[in-house]
């Protein structure tokens, strides 16, 4: 638990440091850039309100992402569904800016597109375990699902994404990727 103003200032600073990871997780849940923005904003404000509930020494990133998941499932997802009638159709595949190495960038864009095309449940598990480096157990706790469900979602995602791994290995062999 944080006490006093110096901790409150630090709490905000920790939230800002966490924002890139939080935004990626929000995108994996929401599937759209603008919804991810709204979700991150709502999460940060909720986290600030609940600052006194955070236990010092526990995993700050996991705590914040649990809030994010809860807001998405309990508040924003149903609103989105009511508005659009679509549960999971948006695909953000144009967020990668073409920069340094064309080969690296084309491949990175392809990876991003394939991950974003996964169903929401698989996408969020892949994001937490593969991108944010949470353990299976931590991902299960953040998403509020059994570890077995994490493993089965990952298993399905691995099948879809396996060709990317082969492609990367072949490009690295040819020296096209760093």
């Amino acid at each position: 638990m944080y006490f006093g103003k110096k901790y409150q200032k630090r709490f905000q600073s920790d939230l800002i440091t966490l924002m890139p990871r939080l935004w990626r997780f929000a995108l994996s849940l929401a599937g759209q850039k603008d919804l991810a923005d709204d979700l991150v904003q709502a999460t940060c404000l909720r986290a600030l309100e609940r600052e006194s509930q955070f236990q010092a020494g526990s995993n700050f990133a996991a705590w914040t992402m649990t809030i994010c998941r809860s807001i998405w499932l309990n508040e924003m997802r149903s609103q989105h569904l009511r508005k659009t009638g679509q549960l999971d159709t948006a695909i953000e595949s144009n967020l990668i800016d073409p920069s340094p190495s064309p080969e690296t960038n084309i491949f990175a864009a392809e990876v991003f597109k394939q991950v974003m095309r996964l169903p929401e449940g698989q996408r969020s598990v892949v994001e937490l375990v593969f991108v944010e480096q949470f353990t299976y157990r931590e991902a299960a706790a953040i998403l509020g699902i059994p570890i077995g469900t994490v493993m089965s979602r990952l298993s399905a995602a691995r099948k879809t994404l396996a060709p990317l791994q082969q492609e990367q290995a072949s490009q690295m062999k040819k020296g096209e990727l760093a």
């Binding site: 924002m19 600030l48 991108v131």
Partner: protein, 253 residues
């Protein structure tokens, strides 16, 4: 139950017989070592990280950060209010001026332990046997560095970590410190003893020059620059640690 690596690889590839696969998933519930072994074999991890390396765009994030934290709200009013408190990189020492037992007192109070002390405590658990079985191929070492670069936002090249005063690169892993990514790159010295190079992202950190210190009985050298804190630590040979730190400093920063 202990599973050979080939079983775990088959499990990840979806080609293991269903009965053993179910047993692995059941064992995962209570076996953190099995979990770490499986995670270490997840070949898709570095691949997927590459796809998210530029996500989100820095400018977009800055705008969002401004939108959330610049406007006063009931929730964050207190955080932006002026106070006598000064943070060091948001994390370290706070100068507190106060009265104690009727006399004026100026002292430094840690609001968290120095990150170097925490890394040193972790590093102190490493012995030769911990790293003896680490045997990554060049391809795996590269993949781990790509993954770590993505998470921490700093390019780490295999070539920068070779020929460091006889050290052999063994492994790179992503850890975390108070929500910020912390990279630990593990080497073996010529005697097989563990040495680590650690990077902590801290955008508020002011640049500092290199300094040598003994931490938890181990030789160390640390410096700060470009929004990162760096630490080389391990063993008792301060001269080697200083040499390695200078080499890394000239290549990485």
């Amino acid at each position: 139950m202990t599973y050979p690596d080939e079983h775990l690889r088959s499990y990840l590839a979806g080609s293991l017989d269903p009965e053993t696969a179910q047993q692995i998933e059941a064992d995962l519930e209570n076996d953190p070592i099995l979990e770490q072994r499986l995670l270490a074999l997840e070949g898709l991890r570095p691949v997927v990280q590459q796809g998210f390396a530029e996500i989100p765009e820095t400018d977009h994030l800055k705008e969002l950060e401004h939108k959330i934290f610049a406007q006063p709200t009931a929730a964050n009013d207190h955080a932006s209010a002026p106070s006598f408190v000064r943070t060091w990189g948001g994390r370290a020492a706070t100068l507190v001026v106060g009265l104690a037992m009727g006399t004026s007192l100026i002292y430094w109070a840690d609001d968290t332990p120095d990150w170097r002390q925490e890394v040193a405590s972790y590093q102190a658990l490493y012995v030769k046997e911990t790293i003896a079985s680490l045997d990554r191929s060049e391809h795996e070492l590269k993949q781990e560095l790509v993954a770590a670069s993505t998470v921490v936002g700093q390019q780490l090249n295999l070539s920068d970590l070779n020929d460091l005063d006889g050290l052999k690169l063994l492994r790179t892993q992503v850890l975390g410190h108070e929500g910020a990514p912390l990279i630990q790159i593990v080497f073996a010295d010529p005697n097989g003893a563990p040495v680590a190079f650690c990077i902590l992202k801290d955008t508020d950190a002011a640049g500092t020059s290199m300094q040598s210190t003994s931490l938890k009985g181990m030789a160390s050298a640390d410096w700060t620059g470009n929004g990162y804190r760096y630490l080389v630590i391990g063993g008792q040979n301060q001269s080697r640690i200083d040499t390695v730190a200078k080499q890394i400093h000239s290549r990485v920063l």
